[in-house]
Amino acid sequence: MEPPLEQIDKWAIDSSNGDRNAFAKLYDFYMKPIYRFIYFRTYNRGLAEDLTAQAFLKAIENIASYDRKKGKFSSWLYRIARNLVIDHYRSRRKTMGLDETWEIASDIDLEEDAGRKEQIEQLKGLLTTLSGEQREVVMMRVWQDLSYTEIAEIMGKSEAGCKMMFSRAVAKMREAAGLIALFILLNWKG
């Protein structure tokens, strides 16, 4: 059950004052969402674990500078995780935009999820029609159930801009869905 926002704020404030038990509670609540957030961008369990650990270590290092006025704790934490993912991909390639992260991620271990291979192939088809930021917005909104306020804070965009991005992404997926269905049908017949 999700604790009330006031409770999370209190834990965040206590943590920023050096209370590690409060941080442990934040960890208990945010570990899974952060892990998923990273996994959806890397598709590699080992890497996701590594980056999750790094995200929380970084959160401890910087918790004292967390300021509630600048945004929710969750947004702050997600932003750390997002920056780590971006840094990870940057370190793999000297220059790479967010758009390219999906392609690299798809090379890693999507095959591990063999039972859902077909579904994932479809998903890849859908997602490759979107830009990197659009993918992120859709994943955060649909898969992670984050609010537009949180998404905007994580991505450093306006709320209206995120809504617009989501709307355009869904429109693109709607168009692409028809093409993918046709492609699958032709392949099956062939």
């Binding site: 590690r20 960890y27 570990m31 996994y39 369990r45 401890i60 290092e61 617009m164 709307s167 869904v170």
Partner: protein, 454 residues
Amino acid sequence: MEKRITELIDELIKHDSSLKGKERELRKSISEFAKARPEAEPDPVFAERLRDELIRRFPSLYRKKPDLFGFLARHRVKWAVGATAVAALVAVTIVLNPIAKMQFSQHPAPTGGAEIPGYITQEQGKGASGPDQAESSSGKPSKPEQTAPIVAKETMNDKTEIQNSYELAVMDKSKTELQPPPTGEDYFPKTELSSGDGKDMFAKAEDKKLESDSVKLSKLKVAEEESAAESKVYEAEKNFYIDFDAAKGAVQKGDLPSPAKNISPDILLEHFDFIVPQYDYKNQAVYIEMSDTTFDGKTGLILVAIPASLVPYVKLPPVLTAKGENKEFDWIGMNTAPDTGKPQIIAAFAAKSFIQSYGKYNVMLGIRYIDDKTGKLTTVEQEIVYVNDLSKTSAFYRFYAAVLEWTLLLKYKNQVPQGSFENVLKLAEGAYGAVPEAQRKDFIETVKQTISAE
């Protein structure tokens, strides 16, 4: 799920009215996407280990809120502030430079806003001033030699109040000082020092010297005593410890090491994989685990890690059972550098039968220490849980069990007949922990070298 998708569609339509009437297609796209969400549940063992690791490392990683200086330092404003401060200092020095002012005062500009060259010569810069230096042998004002601009050329009228008042003061002073002395007046004082004054002076100086010597001697004595006490402790402990670096060096040369002095702390005390949070002293946990040894079917091992800051206050034994019995153990210490604040490992070997029989009950380890705040002797009692299966102990335990076995094999090989370096290697390799560390790797490499040297 359906409800959530409906909400999303409503949101979309609210935001973009052109989507009205396309609900069905939208629903299909979003639900396909939602269903394609990959399974992404973290491994619970990993989650738990990471949690323990984060809690353990929180005090060392946590950085307090930066104060103003910290903020400036962190944002590299310090360079800008430093540069500004230096520039301000230079500017103030130049503005208040008495040598330059002497130059100004000795060559007053005509009234009406004549220009004053704001220069200072190198000679003046070295401290030479006054009429002799300021003028050349011909009596004319000296031309500026290699010059450095103080300020841009300025007029008398442009000078600040401070400059003008300072200049006046210099002028007045020069007037009084440069007045020739009245004839017949002696510059030397007429009264002479009595011989008694001189004696007092020397006596005082001598007393002061003696005093400082005695202070020095007492300090030296204290230092010697401290050093002697340290040596005594070292002498007492040197047979108790093994020097990892020496052992490693000998192994690398292809020789098996001879018994040495200390176990170096650096490979030993970096990470916990398990934490007992109940007894928190200075934000560090006391860690205790008890299980079997790998090298001897008859011996069990109790591993205790305590904060280094607690070490001076700890008295070992006692080990108290739940029945209130005191049990004597052979404690083996793996020391740490006390200044680093890393935990110190203390290991005790006990007959396995004892551990197993008491493992069924609560075996308590008492740690007594003097509380900093109250100054009273305080006891912390920690329950020791016997882990029946070595493979179920923490990586922390297994790693240190490996280090201990390696140590014993080097030092008392005849006492560990069932032990082997291969076993040490196997144990250490299986105990990397949640976050592999370079120092553990270093130990494993050394064990490999030990095997090849053997």
